[in-house]
């Protein structure tokens, strides 16, 4: 038993060390990559790019299910984006709360006989509407498909632009977000097939008429911890992975894709739990099988602000769903793991996802159990344990503070110093008991996945703060 505990503790130590060292490496890379991006932007001048006739048109796709309260405002906000050529396609996915009526009233919609040819799978379309006020708007009313993927596919079939950008109906894009996320496409369009922007928590910010007026940090600890998590995931994780062209996910809340490529891989998979992760991995697979030279980019400054769960219950559901989505995609693509045919994705990115993301909650719980067992058997060195715990705590804090630093030296969305101080304070507080709860939610997600429980559970929304 002692030998088992010894091996177990050593394995966990190595696992833990690797996990943190990888993140530390990503942090250093992300800081360098962000600095390069800032400098590059300085010479591009987005204002000039906007005037170019070579800017590719983009179709903004907005899947909407029971969004009557916010859809008109969200659509108006999208139509006001600063981009020379784009269309907005709103898909009413069988809403029962008058979403279509709200749009009809706001934009004077008229049903048209436009032909809707199904190229990628989606539930039947009931009608296609155009606006008498706004020629760039197209509304598709369809049978409920039960997933965002199904709604996005209906819009894909109707889109006529070279690029598509899927956004959440409840997200708020910064006015130049589309222009910024398209920057890598415009710089090297033959290689860049997709680009993702950063998603941030809107909780606590002031929003008026679908526009973000003031960035403030939310008051609730659950929300603040998520702000740090998002900063860490996007500004360090995705930035770092994208540096090596190993980005496995572009957030479903805001990402641009080459339409033809999405069609070639069969569009979104309607049954996918995490349609965003699923699509990007399938794109990697297709392009690598075709031996194409391509790049999937992450751009850290075009921001999509979205509401994050403000209560523990909603947050637990969301994290369980993310875990299910991860398992679903990794299991389906297990043949890519350690398969040299899939290059870096197969040899590094996916194995990392398996080892340090999917198995993480299990390994964490094994760690806690063996420590408890060692303590019970009296073989745990208390001194070593406490210091190891402290070291782990500080290392994780270092990564979190690093992500706040990254935000501070590059984008500085939080102008108020009190907000920055609170963010830093929470970097020290998030490890207990939030981290353990998070582990538990992910474990629940894993169990639910293997029990076949894929039911969508809605998140409680408090809406955007007006004052």
């Amino acid at each position: 038993m002692h030998e088992f505990l010894q091996i177990s503790n050593n394995t966990l130590f190595v696992y833990y060390l690797f996990s943190n060292l990888i993140y530390l490496g990503l942090l250093i890379l992300a800081i360098a990559s962000s600095a390069a991006h800032q400098r590059r932007l300085g010479s591009i001048k987005l204002e000039r790019v906007k005037q170019s006739p070579f800017v590719p048109p983009v179709a903004m796709i907005v899947p909407a299910h029971n969004e009557a309260g916010t859809i008109a405002e969200a659509t108006r906000s999208l139509l006001a984006l600063d981009y020379p050529e784009f269309e907005v396609i709103v898909v009413n996915d069988g809403s029962t709360d008058g979403t279509l009526e709200a749009l009809t009233e706001e934009f004077n919609l008229m049903q048209t006989d436009m032909l809707h040819v199904t190229q990628v799978e989606s539930k039947p379309v009931r009608g296609v509407y155009m606006s008498a006020k706004e020629p760039r708007l197209l509304v598709i009313d369809k049978e409920p498909g039960g997933s965002k993927a199904d709604a996005a596919n209906a819009a894909l079939n109707a889109a006529s632009s070279q690029y598509i950008c899927v956004v959440d109906a409840d997200g708020v894009l910064e006015p130049d977000a589309l222009l910024r996320v398209m920057a890598p496409v415009m710089t090297d369009h033959r290689r860049v097939v997709a680009a993702g922007g950063i998603v941030r928590a809107i909780n606590g910010c002031r929003v008026e008429k679908g526009k973000l007026k003031e960035v403030r940090l939310a008051r609730g600890p659950v929300e603040v911890i998520q702000v740090i998590e998002y900063l860490r995931a996007f500004l360090i994780g995705r930035e770092g992975w994208a540096y090596f062209n190993m980005l496995a996910i572009i957030s479903g809340a805001f990402g641009v894709f080459e339409r033809d490529l999405v069609m070639k891989v069969g569009g979104y998979r309607p049954a996918a739990i995490g349609e965003d992760l699923d699509l990007v991995v399938r794109m990697h697979r297709y392009l690598l099988e075709q031996k194409k030279d391509y790049h999937i980019s992450f751009i850290p400054d075009p921001v999509c602000w979205t509401e994050v769960p403000s209560d523990v219950r909603s947050l637990s559901r969301q994290r369980a769903r993310w875990q299910k989505a991860l398992i679903d995609v990794l299991w389906r693509n297990r043949d890519m793991v350690f398969n040299p045919r899939y290059g870096r994705i197969g040899m590094v990115a996916l194995p990392y996802q398996w080892l340090f993301e999917m198995f993480a909650p299990w390994i964490e719980i094994i760690g806690y159990s063996t420590i408890a067992l060692a303590a019970y058997l009296g073989v745990l060195s208390r001194e070593f344990f406490l210091q190891f715990l402290l070291f782990g705590y500080l290392f994780a804090t270092l990564i979190s503070v690093g992500s706040v630093l990254q935000e501070e030296i590059t984008y500085r969305r939080y102008g108020n110093w009190r907000d920055v101080a609170r963010l830093i304070a929470f970097c020290f507080l998030e490890h207990f008991p939030y981290r353990q709860l998070h582990m538990w939610w992910r474990l629940k997600g894993t169990i639910q996945y293997f029990r076949g429980d894929f039911k969508w559970q809605p998140m409680r929304r408090v809406g955007f703060q007006k004052n």
Binding site: F54, M130, H189, R190, S381, Q387, F391
Partner: protein, 457 residues
């Protein structure tokens, strides 16, 4: 100290962890200090820059006239940066007379020479920044330094040089890029290159023509695309030649450019391109035909309205719907095609562009009434029943509702019956129910002339 070393010794293997712990703690502390100090320094820098900008702005006229001595600002890095920034921003928007004065200032104060030197001597990001800044100065003497950077082994530097050349906006600046393209020695992404060439050639597109004539198949589509954006009417002979190019991309670009040629020449060429084998060539031709806004394009556009490609049909419909004065004739011709997809595309476009609501409004305008009635009857036969029934039931003006109802009764369009029966049975508004019944009665009686019931509008 003795206590500390004893403590570290007592820790045994854990001393490494202890060391790491101390290092991590110190590192976090340093990060926090860095954030705070950086914020403070940044604020101080911005305030200082703001103050200096105000001082320079106050002296601006004297500075441009040369009476404010350059020695007062030229050797201070911040002041020099402010002056250069104001100068280049101004050069982007100012009239030619002022530009000449600003160029003189750039030359006499040595700002231009400094940038030329930096563009040649510096490395990395500093060089790239110097290249783009040099381009913004729009000086012909900057072109050689910018052209040298086109051959740099670093891709980012080459892109910066391309951007710099583009920013000059001088046709001469296009030549180094075109020369290298011709011999396939310029390795930069296509879009920044296109943008740069576009900026350079906008004021003199003729510079592209000789390169286009001798370009190979890799290079020709790119130049043709560029010409498609900026070609002027005096280049129409070259454009006609391109319209028969073996490469589809070149033909498509030619079609795009022909929208700006004289209709006399363009019509035949665009008519041919509208029947091209490649859908995107046909699409470009249809868009260009629409841009001509000439009724002679109607037969070709009607033909392309029946195209097998959806995008071509949609653009043909948009071009036809834009020919407002000829709608009646167009609708009749569209009906004669008996093509369901063509009808759908056209009717959708009429709805989307607001043409139908405009025609409905015109029903009460004595000067346009006859035309509107004929056009709407045609549109009704083409499939716009829903829109007209909506107008009859819900238009805010009673006079217009009445006019639509009379028109529908006169149409004898039996396809209206199912919708009217539904409205008569299920509509929430009693007025709408009565109106539906009235119209049903007239459709069965055979027209408004024999109407006996009073219209319940």
């Amino acid at each position: 100290m003795g206590f500390l070393s004893n403590l570290v010794e007592r820790l045994g293997p854990a001393q490494y962890v202890f060391g790491a712990l101390v290092v991590t703690g110190v590192f976090i502390g340093l990060l926090l200090v860095f954030i705070l100090v950086r914020r403070m320094l940044r604020r101080r820098y911005l305030e200082q820059r703001d103050r200096r900008t105000l001082v320079i702005r106050k002296q601006w006229d004297a500075l441009v006239a040369g009476t404010y001595s350059p020695t007062q600002w030229r050797f201070d890095a911040m002041d020099r940066d402010i002056v250069e920034s104001i100068l280049t921003d101004r050069l982007d928007v100012c009239p030619p007379e002022e530009a000449a004065q600003l160029m003189r200032l750039l030359r006499t104060t040595g700002l231009l020479d400094t940038r030329i030197h930096e563009a040649r001597a510096l490395r990395g990001w500093d060089r790239r920044h110097a290249l783009v800044s040099l381009g913004r100065m729009r000086a012909p003497e900057a072109i050689p330094a910018l052209a040298e950077a086109l051959d740099d082994p670093d891709a980012e530097t080459r892109i910066a040089a391309v951007r710099g050349l583009g920013r000059t906006g001088l046709p001469r600046a296009a030549e180094p890029m075109l020369e290298r393209l011709r011999f396939d020695t310029l390795q930069v992404p296509e879009r920044p290159l296109l943008n740069a060439l576009l900026n350079c050639c906008r004021s003199g597109p003729a510079v592209l023509v000789p390169y286009l004539r001798f370009a190979d198949d890799r290079f020709r589509p790119l130049l043709a695309r560029l010409l498609g954006e900026i070609a002027t009417a005096d280049l129409e002979e070259d454009l006609l030649l391109l319209a028969s190019d073996p490469l589809a991309e070149v033909r498509a670009s030619s079609a795009r450019a022909l929208a700006r040629a004289k209709p006399r020449l363009a019509l035949t060429a665009l008519g041919n391109l509208a029947g091209d084998d490649e859908w995107f060539v046909r699409l470009r031709a249809v868009v260009a035909l629409g841009a001509l806004e000439d009724p002679r394009t109607i037969p070709v556009l009607i033909e392309t309205l029946c195209d097998q490609n959806r995008y071509v049909r949609l653009r043909a419909a948009a071009s036809l719907a834009a020919l407002d004065g000829y709608l009646e004739e167009i609708i009749q011709q569209v009906l004669r095609t008996r093509d369901r997809y063509a009808l759908q595309a056209f009717v959708s476009e009429l709805e989307r562009t607001g043409t139908l609501p405009r025609l409905v409004e015109a029903l009460t305008d004595p000067t346009r009434q006859d035309y509107a009635e004929d056009a709407l009857l045609g549109a009704l036969r083409a499939g716009t029943q829903r829109h007209l029934l909506d107008a009859m039931a819900r238009h805010p003006q009673a006079k217009t509702r009445k006019a639509v109802a009379r028109l529908l009764a006169r149409s004898q369009e039996q396809r209206l019956v199912p919708a009217l029966e539904r409205a008569a049975a299920t509509s929430r508004s009693r007025r709408e129910q009565r109106l539906a019944r009235w119209l049903l009665a007239h459709l069965s009686e055979g027209g408004i002339e024999r109407a006996t019931q009073k219209m319940p509008v």
